[in-house]
C-alpha cells in the first residue's frame, strides 16, 4: 500500500512537472524586480508599467518566436533582503530574463542568484560594483557612476569654477559610490572638496548637517542620493539661508523632488542623462505617446526608459538567436553594436557594461521645467 502510494505520488509529481514544462514552452516569462511599494514606489511602478506596455505590444504582434510573453512582477521595496527573496521567486517562476531593479543595492543583492541559475538580468543600477563580478547574465542598461562622476567634476571645476565644494550622500551603495567617485574626480582636477558627509535616508530632518555645512561656507552642495531626501535637503537649505548652489545627482531627477522642494526648486541644478521629453529618437517619442495613452501620465523618469531598452535588447536577442538559451542570448548581447534604443544606441561591453551616453547639467526653472546649461 505504502509503495503504491509512493508510486502514485511520483507519477503525480512527474506529470505535473511535465505539464509545467509544457506550459513553460508555450510562453516566454519575463520577470520584473522593482520597488513597486516603499520609498521609490513611483519609479518602481513606472518600470513595471513600462515593461507591461512593451510586452503587450509584442504580444499584439504575436509575441516572439511564436510564443506569447508573460510578465511576472516582484516587489523588492528597494530593500536588499526583499530583493534576495524576489530573486528566488522569479527564478522559481522560470523567467528567462529579469528587468530591474531600480536601486543598485537591490540589484546587487539579487545578481548572484540570477547568475547561478542562468537567468539574464538588466538593471539601471549605476553603482560601479555591479559589473565588478563580470557575470555573463548581467547587463547594465544605464551608464556607470564613474562616467557621471567625471562629468560632474568637470562641470564643477572647469565650468562653474567652484572654490569650495561640499559633497553629501546617503548610506546606499549607489549614493556613497557616486559621491566618493565624484569627490575623487574633483580632486584629480585640483578642485577643493571641503566637506564629505552622509545623511540617513528618510530621516527628514537634515538641518543639523546643513547647519554644519553652513559654517564652512561652501560655493556648492552636491547631493548624490535620491529625490525623496534631495527635495527636502534643498528646501531646508534655502530655509536656513545657505547661499550655496545645490546640485543633485541623477536620482534627484524626479517630479517629487520639485514638489518637496516647493518654491526652492527654482535654481537647483540636476545632472543626468537626457530627460525623456528631449530624446530626439522617433521610437522614444512613440513610447512616450503610448505610455501616456495607456496610463494617463508620463513615465516617472528616464530610468523607466533605460530599463525598457534593456528589455527590448533582450527580446531582440531572443529573436535574432531564435532561441531561449540564455547563454546564447548573452553571447549575442555582448557583441551587440548600435541597437536602436529609446535612450540612444545600445552597445554592451563583455562585462555587461553599456557603452556611450552623454550626461547633461540642467537648471530647474520657475515652472519646474529644465534648461540645459552644460553638456
Amino acid at each position: 500500500m505504502k509503495r503504491r502510494l509512493l508510486k502514485l505520488a511520483t507519477s503525480v509529481v512527474a506529470t505535473s512537472a511535465l505539464v509545467a514544462s509544457l506550459n513553460a514552452a508555450d510562453v516566454i516569462k519575463i520577470g520584473v524586480q522593482a520597488p513597486i511599494t516603499g520609498k521609490y514606489a513611483n519609479e518602481g511602478q513606472s518600470i513595471d508599467n513600462g515593461v507591461k506596455l512593451i510586452v503587450d505590444q509584442y504580444n499584439a504582434k504575436g509575441g516572439v518566436l511564436g510564443k506569447k510573453i508573460e510578465v511576472v512582477s516582484c516587489d523588492d521595496e528597494g530593500v536588499a533582503q526583499k530583493a534576495a527573496i524576489c530573486a528566488r521567486k522569479l527564478v522559481n517562476a522560470g523567467v528567462l530574463a529579469v528587468i530591474g531593479s531600480y536601486t543598485s543595492g537591490a540589484t546587487e543583492a539579487a545578481q548572484t542568484t540570477y547568475y547561478r541559475n542562468g537567468v539574464l538580468q538588466t538593471s539601471d543600477g549605476t553603482s560601479d560594483s555591479l559589473t565588478k563580478h563580470k557575470y555573463w547574465t548581467f547587463f547594465r542598461n544605464s551608464f556607470p557612476n564613474s562616467a557621471e562622476a567625471e562629468f560632474t567634476a568637470k562641470y564643477f571645476v572647469n565650468v562653474k569654477h567652484y572654490k569650495k565644494i561640499a559633497v553629501l550622500s546617503d548610506y546606499s551603495s549607489y549614493a556613497t559610490g557616486l559621491a566618493d567617485a565624484t569627490a575623487k574626480a574633483i580632486k584629480n582636477l585640483n578642485g577643493n572638496v571641503i566637506y564629505r558627509g552622509k545623511i540617513k535616508s528618510g530621516t527628514q530632518n537634515f538641518t543639523a548637517v546643513l547647519t554644519k555645512i553652513k559654517s564652512l561656507n561652501p560655493d556648492v552642495i552636491y547631493f548624490s542620493g535620491y529625490y525623496n531626501d534631495g527635495g527636502l535637503l534643498r528646501a531646508q537649505q534655502v530655509q536656513l539661508g545657505i547661499k550655496a548652489d545645490f546640485v543633485g545627482g541623477d536620482s534627484n531627477d524626479n517630479p517629487d523632488f520639485m514638489k518637496l522642494a516647493g518654491s526652492s526648486a527654482k535654481g537647483t541644478y540636476l545632472i543626468n542623462v537626457p530627460t525623456p521629453d528631449i530624446l530626439p529618437y522617433d521610437i522614444a517619442k512613440k513610447f512616450l505617446k503610448d505610455y501616456k495613452a495607456k496610463y494617463g501620465m508620463m513615465p516617472a523618469s528616464i530610468w523607466t526608459l533605460l530599463n525598457i531598452d534593456g528589455l527590448r535588447a533582450v527580446l531582440y536577442g531572443v529573436e535574432q538567436t531564435k532561441s531561449t538559451d540564455t547563454k546564447k542570448i548573452s553571447n549575442f548581447l555582448h557583441k551587440l553594436k548600435g541597437f536602436p534604443g529609446i535612450t540612444g544606441p545600445v552597445n554592451f561591453r563583455s562585462d555587461g557594461e553599456r557603452i556611450g551616453g552623454g550626461y547633461m547639467a540642467y537648471e530647474v526653472q520657475g515652472d519646474n521645467s529644465y534648461k540645459i546649461v552644460y553638456k
Partner: protein, 300 residues
C-alpha cells in the same frame, strides 16, 4: 556662536516632536506596563488623515487660523478614536495574558495600521501643501528660525505643561497615577480602571496626532512607513528619560533631538546615530531606570 544657536534650534524642533510622540509610549507603559508599538503608526496615520481632511473638506490652497485649527482638532479626535479602538481590540482582551502576548499583539497592530495606510492612501509619498502655516522666516544675526518651528516648540511646550498639570492637579490625574502604582488596589478604591486606560489612550493618541501633523507641515513629504522612524526615536527618548515618567519623556525627547543635532554638527553626521545610542547605553549604565525614572511608585 550663531552656528551653535542654530543647532540648538534645530535640535529643539525635532526634539519637541520626539517628546510629543514619546509621551504616548510612556503613559501607556506607566499604566499598563505595555510597549505600544502601534503608537508610531498612529502618528503616521494622523499625517495622512490630516492631509485628507484639509484637502477634502477645506480644499487645497485655502488657509486661515480657523481652518488650521479645525484640521488639528478633527485629526486629533479621529486619532484618539483609533487609539481607543486599538486598546479595545488589541490590548484589552490580553490584559491578563502574559506580557509577551501583548507585545506581539502590539507589533501586529502596528503592521495592521501601517498596511491600512498603504492600502488606503497608496505606497507613494504624499506631499503636504506648503501654505498651511505662513512661510515667515526670521533671521537674528545669522540664526534662522521659521514660523513652523516656533509653532512646533511653542505648542509642544504648552501641551506638555497642560498634561503635567492634568496629571498632578486633577481628580482624573490622581486616578491615573493611582492605577499606575497598583491596578488592583486602584480598583478596590473605586477607580474605574477601564476609563483610566481609555483616557490615557485618548490623550496619548491625540498628542501623537499633533506631532504627526507637525511632521507633515514641517517636512512635507509623508510616507506610510514613516511611523517606524519617529516611533523608534520617541521610544528611545522615553527610555532615556525613564519610561513611565511623564516629565522624563519630555526631557528625553528634547535631549535626543539636541544630542543628534550637536553630534552631527560638531563631531560627524555619519556617526550621529551611533553616538546617540552609545549615550543611551551610558545613561542606562549609570541610571538603569532612565534620567528621571526613580522608584516604581513614582511612575505614571
Amino acid at each position: 556662536m550663531d552656528i551653535f544657536l542654530q543647532q540648538l534650534i534645530n535640535g529643539l524642533t525635532v526634539g519637541s516632536l520626539y517628546a510629543l510622540v514619546a509621551l504616548g509610549y510612556t503613559m501607556v507603559y506607566g499604566v499598563m506596563k505595555l510597549i505600544n508599538f502601534a503608537h508610531g503608526d498612529l502618528v503616521a496615520l494622523s499625517a495622512f488623515a490630516g492631509l485628507t481632511i484639509y484637502v477634502e473638506i477645506f480644499g487645497e490652497g485655502t488657509n486661515s487660523l480657523f481652518i488650521v485649527l479645525s484640521v488639528f482638532v478633527i485629526t486629533a479626535l479621529i486619532i484618539a478614536f483609533v487609539g481607543v479602538l486599538l486598546e479595545r481590540l488589541a490590548y484589552r482582551p490580553l490584559r491578563t495574558a502574559p506580557r509577551l502576548s501583548a507585545v506581539v499583539s502590539a507589533l501586529g497592530a502596528s503592521l495592521v495600521i501601517q498596511n491600512s495606510i498603504m492600502l488606503i492612501w497608496g505606497p507613494n509619498m504624499k506631499i503636504f501643501p506648503s501654505n498651511l502655516f505662513p512661510s515667515t522666516i526670521w533671521n537674528l544675526n545669522g540664526v534662522v528660525f521659521t514660523f513652523t518651528q516656533v509653532m512646533i516648540m511653542g505648542i509642544s511646550a504648552l501641551l506638555m505643561v497642560g498634561l503635567y498639570i492634568f496629571i498632578n492637579k486633577t481628580k482624573m490625574g490622581t486616578a491615573i497615577r493611582a492605577t499606575a502604582i497598583d491596578q488592583d488596589a486602584a480598583k478596590l478604591m473605586g477607580i474605574n480602571v477601564n476609563r483610566v486606560i481609555m483616557t490615557i489612550f485618548i490623550i496619548g493618541s491625540a498628542l501623537g496626532a499633533v506631532a504627526g501633523l507637525f511632521i507633515g507641515i514641517n517636512y512635507r513629504g509623508i510616507t506610510f512607513d514613516m511611523g517606524w522612524t519617529y516611533g523608534l526615536n520617541a521610544f528611545v527618548a522615553a527610555i532615556m528619560g525613564g519610561i513611565g515618567n511623564i516629565p522624563g519623556a519630555m526631557l528625553g525627547g528634547i535631549l535626543l533631538g539636541l544630542f543628534n543635532a550637536m553630534i552631527s554638527g560638531y563631531i560627524s553626521s555619519e556617526w550621529a546615530e551611533t553616538f546617540t545610542f552609545v549615550l543611551l547605553v551610558v545613561i542606562l549604565i549609570f541610571r538603569p531606570t532612565g534620567i528621571l525614572g526613580e522608584t516604581i511608585a513614582e511612575k505614571v
